[in-house]
């Protein structure tokens, strides 16, 4: 159990260092507060929606009334009958977006044909439209009985989610926040290398896996406590957990493990603490293309492929899905992807560590 001894030492080095401990545990709190506040998530304010009813039928009126009854939406008056009227208001900045109910809405509903609803929003503010889209899809499918195009469970989602913005941002913020483990783990190893402590330990009979496990273990409690803080603060600020919180926790745990694994690799490669700090050059772009801070729906396909090959986007998608009501089976591919990455990263860390033990 050599790794256990190394792990105990590293845990003591962390919890006896108030600056590092404060950084690791204060970060989730500050991060969540700032991001959620910045996205207007402090209050569950309803989204103001304008509607264009080109069908002017009993069904369309009933649908508009139904939409107006959803807690997350506040209907603007009046309901336009012409698209051009609403478009003019949108162009002038008087409204943010509008829902277009096309002519033939009632007929399509009665003949069980596909209904196309359009949500038109300002190109400069795509996030608002994206937040509203799943709600309209959910309300529409429930009202009309049409299968939703999104892979989400719709059982009352639209009425349960108090604040769509928080539910959209929070999972990404947690994943981004946990990426801090990459640089912290790398810096601790690199610091020990720089000070010569690792060289001393390399003269003992400890094996490479003892070091990788010994340097990873102390971050497990940090990972668990950080995730609790993230989710706790998120829930306090309006995150609505529709699905299974345990599944979300598992996803966050796995992406945290991946982060620690990457930290082990970076720590094996760099020679000093300052070099380990360079890992942020990679962390921030990867976080961006992984959809932790905003949607990647409009990202070029090449970048999406890069992001898709990495674990982070899977963690964001999976955690967002389970928090918003998806079952575990819906995220099973993401789950396996994360486990695979964690295994590969730790195995790579051990191989690299073995190389650095003898130069």
């Amino acid at each position: 159990m050599k790794f256990w001894e190394i792990g105990k030492r590293n845990l003591k080095e962390i919890y006896r260092n108030p600056v590092l401990l404060g950084f690791l545990l204060g970060m989730p709190l500050a991060f969540m507060l700032v991001f959620v506040a910045a996205t207007g998530g402090g209050q569950a304010s309803p989204i103001a929606l304008s509607v264009v009813d080109e069908d002017s039928s009993q069904t369309s009126s009933a649908f508009i009334q139904y939409v107006g009854g959803v807690g997350a939406i506040e209907l603007n008056e009046p309901v336009y009958s012409e698209k051009s009227e609403a478009q003019e208001e949108l162009d002038e900045g008087k409204i943010s977006f509008y829902l277009l109910i096309p002519a033939g809405f009632e007929a399509a509903q009665q003949t069980q044909q596909t209904i196309n609803l359009e949500l038109i929003y300002k190109a400069a503010d795509p996030m608002m439209g994206l937040q509203l889209k799943p709600i309209i899809e959910a309300v529409g499918s429930e009202f009309l009985g049409v299968a939703p195009p999104l892979n989400v469970e719709l059982k009352g989602t639209e009425s349960i989610i108090k604040n769509p913005a928080v539910n959209f941002y929070a999972p990404g913020i947690v994943v981004f926040g946990l990426m801090i483990l990459i640089s912290t783990a790398a810096e601790i190893i690199a610091g020990d290398r720089e000070k010569g402590f690792l060289a001393r330990m390399f003269t003992t009979p400890a094996r490479p896996w003892d070091f990788i496990l010994g340097y990873s273990l102390p971050f497990i409690p940090v990972l668990i406590i950080s995730t609790f803080i993230y989710l706790g603060v998120g829930i306090a600020l309006g995150l609505t957990v529709v699905g299974n919180l345990g599944h979300a926790f598992l996803v966050f745990f796995l992406i945290g493990l991946c982060g620690i694994g990457i930290g082990m690799i970076v720590g094996s490669l760099v020679k000093s603490e300052s070099q380990a700090g360079v890992s942020w050059i990679f962390i921030v772009p990867i976080a961006m293309i992984s959809g932790t801070m905003f949607t990647v729906e409009y990202m070029p396909s090449a970048l999406r492929s890069v992001a898709g090959a990495l674990p982070f986007i899977h963690a964001v998608d999976a955690s967002r899905a389970v928090i918003n009501g998806s079952s575990f089976s819906a995220i099973i591919i993401d789950f396996y992807w994360l486990i695979g990455w964690a295994v590969v990263l730790f195995a790579t860390g051990i191989v690299l560590f073995r190389r650095t033990m003898v130069s």
């Binding site: 050599k2 001894e5 030492r9 010569g196 402590f197 060289a199 009979p205 003898v358």
Partner: protein
Amino acid sequence: MNAIQTFKLTKKFDSLVAVNGIDLEINKGELFSLLGPNGAGKTTTIRMLCCLLKPTRGTASILGHDIVKTPFAVKDVIGVSPQDTTLSERLNCWENLALIGKVHGLSSDTVARRSKELLETMGLMERGKDQVRKFSGGMKRRLSIAMALISDPQVLFLDEPTLGLDPQARRNIWDYIDTLKGKKTILLTTHYMEEADSLSDRIGIIDEGRIVALGTSRELKTQFFEMQSMAVSTGNITAEVIEDLQSKYSRLEMTKGKLKIYHKDLDFKGIVDYLHSRGITVYSAALEQPTLEDVFIQITGKKLRD
């Protein structure tokens, strides 16, 4: 079987040959000092013997275990006190010792017993529960040596164990190392000639990656310092006399009224009589034995090294 044996041990860093085909045999229980100027290859040699550096050519064995083929067997039998006092700064003495002891596979009871012995021996018992980041340089050095000894290793590597310490702390560590003589095989590197002179059974002088001198302190002094030296304190020596002495003897040094004359087979009485005859007041005069430092400078030269 020798405790440490090297076979053409060589280490190159690109075009720089740091250690150049060293063949060395160190007996069990021997305290062997490796001396050399900065960059001579001392630490590189120790790092190879501790399995931290892979030799470019050649190899070495520690108690029969090959450093390249069976590094973990080597690590089982060695204790290392590196040049830098590399401790875990937020752990206390007990915890630092327990870390190394348990990584070597010792039981908790053994670790506790040996830690107590070592902390008492090193005079660290009172501060045993303080985090070591609050310690002075001397205390850290003593703990570093204790960490090298916690596993009761048969072979001990001490890389500059007294570097930067005040004379009291240095003597304290010398005393302790002296108690280990004969019980453990010790390879020591140092810049302090007095340290090597008083502690070592044998000394190897390494320069530019090669062992350039090997033997006991006495052997080295006899072998490499054939000249005698004589120190004379004078009051009124003249330039003319100095010039005359310079023409007669191999080397002459003059500092603050003190004259130092180097020559093979010095004629002590003849020099004193000569000075008197020239009207020079001689306050004191004495023949001096060569020091290890004299030998070291004689062998490695006075040129500054990086």
